[in-house]
């Protein structure tokens, strides 16, 4: 196969990814603000069926229903925090991609930095000891 064919195949494969841009249903909003609100919110929530997808991207029936619900609430003028608590009160914190920062999740958020810090301490003291040993 010559180079041209390989490039062509490569580009054709890339073109299939464009389909994702049009994956969502068409929702009509009253303002750019509302459209942005919809975009943001639907990317913040996890689809509980296809759990690594956002509610925006997922084709699962539950995701479709929740997109419709969010759309309705935005047209009613509900705020993002109202919509968020609507969903969290029904599905729990797991529906948020970013877990909330509170007493229960404190360790979840802090522990990576904590371990990194402990690691640095360890390396630091190790170096000090070796340095001292070298001096003797």
């Amino acid at each position: 196969m010559n180079r041209f064919v390989i490039y062509l195949i490569f580009i054709l494969i890339l073109l299939t990814c464009i389909g994702n841009v049009f994956a969502s249903d068409k929702y009509l909003f009253q303002s750019k603000q509302q459209a942005n609100q919809f975009f943001e919110l639907t990317h913040e929530f996890r689809c509980l069926v296809c759990q690594n997808e956002t509610i925006e991207a997922s084709y699962a029936p539950l995701a479709v229903d929740l997109r419709n619900q969010i759309y309705k609430m935005i047209l009613q003028g509900k705020s993002s925090s109202t919509i968020k608590s609507y969903l969290v009160s029904r599905y729990g914190d797991f529906i948020l991609f970013k877990p909330p920062f509170n007493r229960i999740t404190f360790f979840l958020w802090v522990s990576p930095i904590l371990f990194l810090f402990i690691g640095f301490l360890f390396v630091y003291f190790l170096n000090r000891r070796e340095h001292k040993l070298l001096q003797h």
């Binding site: 509980l48 759990q51 539950l62 929740l66 029904r90 599905y91 729990g92 797991f94 190790l126």
Partner: protein, 184 residues
């Protein structure tokens, strides 16, 4: 750095590794599709719907309180629901506890057909073709079964089909325990 005995320095990484393995192993046991319900301890949300049997009859959250009951979310398109159907029939026939149904995002005629053909374990069935009642209950996948106490408060939620063992060893004892609670 403090002076630590030599063997301690050898054991420490092993201990840390052991701890890591323990926690990661525990993590493997968790099923991500079993999501804890935020409704435990909360009252059933208000709703009013037609019953499956008769569009002229309605059923509301008030009908679901007064005694300990099971509320089972099912649909004809749900394959796993067929699996638990015989268990539900056993529960219904045993008379131990009343079972109510939530027919979720389904077609009335299909649901009625299936219940007629395979048996109807439900005292009454909420007809929820749009899924609105389901969303208000935090339903994300069928089958799901709620245990509701006398006061209409959701006490437990089961995700997935109920096996005969789960009924005997888990659900029935919980139902009995809830019955012992003093009526408020």
């Amino acid at each position: 750095m403090m002076k630590w005995p030599g063997y301690f320095k050898l054991i420490l990484p092993v201990i840390v590794f052991g701890l890591l393995v323990y926690f990661l192993w525990q993590g493997l046991q968790y099923n991500p599709h079993i999501i804890p319900s935020p409704f435990i301890g909360k009252r059933i949300p208000d709703f009013k719907s037609q019953t499956l049997a008769n569009p002229n009859h309605s059923i509301s959250n008030n009908d679901l309180s007064g005694k300990v009951i099971l509320l089972n979310v099912f649909a004809t398109w749900c394959y796993a629901c067929r699996a638990e159907h015989s268990v539900l029939m056993d529960i219904h026939n045993s008379g131990e506890v009343a079972v109510y149904g939530l027919n979720y995002k389904d077609k009335r005629t299909l649901a009625k057909q299936v219940l007629k053909k395979y048996g109807n374990p439900y005292n009454k069935v909420i007809y929820d073709p749009s899924g609105k009642v389901g969303i208000n209950l935090g339903v994300y996948g069928t089958p799901e079964t709620f245990i509701i106490d006398r006061r209409g408060i959701i006490r437990y939620k089961y995700i997935g089909p109920i096996s005969p063992n789960e009924w005997q060893d888990d659900i029935l004892p919980k139902v009995k325990q809830l019955r012992e609670e003093a009526a408020v």
